[in-house]
Symmetry: C2
Subunit: 168 residues, 2 copies
DNA sequence: ACATTTAATCAGGGGCCCTTGATTATTATT
DNA sequence: AATAATAATCAAGGGCCCCTGATTAAATGT
């Protein structure tokens, strides 16, 4: 089989997997909504990386508007996942900090291991892990090459968190 | 390494991959938005599977409300991806059909092969394909076991489309 | 002291994916 | 013929993720 066909086949599998996880989560697995690199999840991940940030720091790190930042922060505060406090050094600044509940939210979102993974043998798991590692590394490379601005680097930090979680 | 840890590691990789594709698509790859099993994409996939459906057929197949169906169909029509016609057999019925543009939209959404896949060797591609196939099959199994209603079966048909595309 | 900049909020908007309730027109059943 | 069921639309609403423009308060620069 030609190399082009193989890569197309894999692209299809990955796409299929991606859509299936949505259905899987809806129907099979009563999972907590995952943290995503979107909206409120973005802010949570930013704070997981460095707590006690001002809103404008969050805004520039995530490359989203201050108003969007304020909105997401406000929603997170409403859910008691973050707390707000005026900075003593600068009364304009609102410091955003994770609450215990917020920290737990982040930790627990990484704890779900989908059942379907257990269909693999031990050896297959090793293989899969190695291949996924390779793919992910290539993705990071492409991302950095395309746009090495602060925002992207930050995105990289965010995503790296998944990895750190499982190194122990 | 213990089996539990391995599966956790893989869960983490998959989660990381999933979030990274969002960033990858945003930054690296100027891709067409993918068809998803959500909203308008759902309707397109339904029509790809069987064209010329009534809105209420779509509604029941996708297990969404008639009003949502109408909304998505209307949006797709606005984008010239579907055309509407009153059924001659029953004047209540609006038949929804893919336009040429709609068909092209669907086809082209499967054509993008992300560059990062090419980091794998031929052998690795075979391995990865085999492992993904196994995982996806397990997912389908779980999905069917959990809820074998018509809607779910339909979702399965939708997702199967990715596979069919690459069998040739 | 005044002008400029910065941080956050308010006002308002858009898009997308969903929902419930009500209405109108058409078809099927009694 | 009258009633009940069906198909689609209209009205209205909500949530989430985003945005631009304007305003207010605090800090910094001249």
């Amino acid at each position: 089989m030609e190399r082009k066909i193989k890569s197309e086949l894999i692209a299809g599998k990955l796409a299929e997997y991606e859509q299936l996880t949505k259905i899987y989560d809806d129907i099979v697995q009563d999972v907590k909504p995952r943290l995503t690199v979107e909206g409120q999840g973005k802010v949570l991940l930013a704070l997981a990386d460095e707590d006690h940030l001002s809103q404008s720091q969050i805004s520039s790190r995530l490359e989203i508007s201050p108003q969007s930042t304020g909105e997401f922060v406000s929603k997170l505060a409403k859910r008691d996942l973050v707390s707000l406090s005026k900075s003593e050094k600068d009364r304009r600044i609102n410091l955003v900090s994770l609450t215990t509940k917020g920290r737990e939210e982040i930790e627990s979102s990484f704890q779900e291991v989908p059942k379907f993974i257990t269909v693999l043998s031990n050896e297959e798991m090793d293989q899969f892990n190695r291949l996924m590692t390779k793919i992910i590394a290539a993705m990071y490379e492409d991302i950095d090459k395309a746009n090495p601005t602060l925002g992207v680097k930050f995105h990289k930090l965010l995503a790296n968190r998944y990895l750190k979680q499982y190194k122990k």
